[in-house]
């Protein structure tokens, strides 16, 4: 009984500490952005790494998501005789939910894990200490460009995902099942309002932040991990944790944003 309470207390303290650490980390990073030097190149490099190099995966994922969504909706709508609604159904599903969430999951797998491992290895190899000792703020030099890169790249990828997905849906609905093209696109114009787009945009920004935030903070504080494991094992464990944690973060915040904005 006492052991259980003790363990509960221990866990609680650990979570408070974890959230405090994450909050301070983000605050320090954002504060570092206000100080000169303001350098554009590192941010562009991160946009390239997170964004440009994920484009192909996003294109493929987008097309097939759009296609399968159209397939499912067509099958449902045809029973009610309202296939004219196909365009709006596909567009709304992609813009509000599937686009932001699936893009985020792709980015977690491709870039989030890589960022976490990279920062973790830098911590292990004393490179972050070296930056500190050279009077170069690691928050500004390493973390801030990645966070900004994520905030720009993830919404951009999401937009690509949605547009490509809509055309994937068009291919299945219009080309394969013969829904009228005018109905497909006009239904979309009529039902999708700015609020829906806005919801997608907010989500993709929040997801971009969560992904890079979790990846960098886990890697950065690798040496403080309470498992006390360093080296290759520490990096692999931390990277796995970061992927799990940011996936859950994305899904939970997705629900919260939907609940607030709907």
């Amino acid at each position: 009984m006492f052991r259980a309470i003790e363990r509960l207390g221990d866990r609680t303290l650990y979570f408070i500490e974890l959230w405090g650490q994450m909050g301070l980390f983000l605050f320090t990073t954002l504060a570092s952005l206000l100080r000169p030097p303001y350098q554009l190149h590192p941010i562009l490099k991160q946009i390239h790494f997170i964004g440009a190099r994920s484009t192909l995966v996003i294109l493929v994922a987008g097309v097939f998501t759009g296609m399968v969504v159209a397939l499912q909706f067509y099958d449902t709508l045809v029973r009610f005789g309202s296939v004219a609604m196909l365009g709006s159904a596909v567009a709304l599903a992609l813009i509000r939910e599937l686009g932001p969430v699936l893009s985020a999951l792709v980015v977690i797998g491709r870039a989030g894990s890589a960022i976490c491992a990279e920062i973790g290895i830098m911590r292990n190899d004393e490179q972050i200490d070296a930056l500190e000792c050279m009077a170069i703020d690691p928050y500004k030099y390493l973390i801030a460009p990645r966070i900004l890169g994520g905030l720009i790249a993830v919404p951009a990828l999401t937009m690509i995902f949605i547009v490509v997905g809509i055309f994937g849906g068009w291919f299945v609905g219009v080309v394969l099942f013969g829904v009228s093209e005018a109905a497909y696109f006009h239904g979309m114009y009529d039902t999708v309002v700015w609020h829906d787009v806005w919801m997608g945009v907010v989500k993709s920004f929040v997801f971009g932040l969560i992904i890079v935030w979790v990846a960098t903070v886990r890697g950065f504080f690798l040496h403080l991990d309470r498992s006390g494991v360093f080296g290759a094992e520490g990096v692999s464990r931390t990277t796995t944790n970061a992927v799990v944690f940011s996936t859950i973060g994305v899904l939970v915040s997705d629900y919260l944003i939907s609940a607030v904005m709907l």
């Binding site: 030097p37 830098m122 190899d125 004393e126 490179q127 200490d129 070296a130 500190e132 000792c133 050279m134 009077a135 170069i136 703020d137 030099y141």
Partner: protein, 279 residues
Amino acid sequence: MNHSAQPLETPEAVDGREPVIEVRDLVSHYGERRILDGVDLQVRRGEILVIMGGSGSGKSTLLHHLLGLKRPSAGSIRLLGSELEDLSKKQLYALRRRMGVAFQGGALFSSMSLRENVALPLRQHTRLDEETIRIMTRMKLEMVNLGGFEDLRPAELSGGMLKRAGLARSLIMDPELLFFDEPSAGLDPVVSAELDELILRLREALSMTIVVVTHELESAFGIADRILVLDQGRVLVTGTVEQVRNTDNARVQDLLNRRPRNEPVDAEAYLRRLTGMRD
């Protein structure tokens, strides 16, 4: 076993030169575990101090404190005239521009060439033009015998070369104070001797104050003005090479003569330590 500290202040050590580092009664914890237990030390301008000790002696922790990377549980550290505890982040960074640190494995960034690595502090802290940066970088790399390797990446270099490249980077801002973590660990004796030679030359040519952390006896005796022997978080002895050699502290004599500790259980760990395993 006698574990009490025996400070042996030498006439040279307390002569007129100003102290660059002053540590008083430093206590440090890692979680619940006490790593440093009342460490005192002083380094004067132009001096080479070697901090010596085996694995787990607390020497790496002491170095982290001297660099301001870790906050002490108790005690004070004065560096180049400033109390570390009192400094804001900005002031600490200003102080760090006056010192250089060469890390054990070089700690170079794998995504950059050697030239970019060494030039990094210049690019971040100065507005020098490309040509000047190029010349300065080349000079420092030649100083550590790495001229001509500028375009290689860290992954293409050997351990000794990485260490020397890290040294070149730490010298690029012409620091007054240089820290060198384990210059000889993992190197063959010839390369290690060359590095020792280089450290001595740096002091001669640039009148730097140098703090070296090592577990290598040979290297320590070769370069030190004074040696501080650390064991289990306490200072066993500080003094000149002669004083340390002649001390009657049993533990220090054990270390010097490579005798295992009394407990036979520790023999293996001690051997491992002497053969140069990392902390």
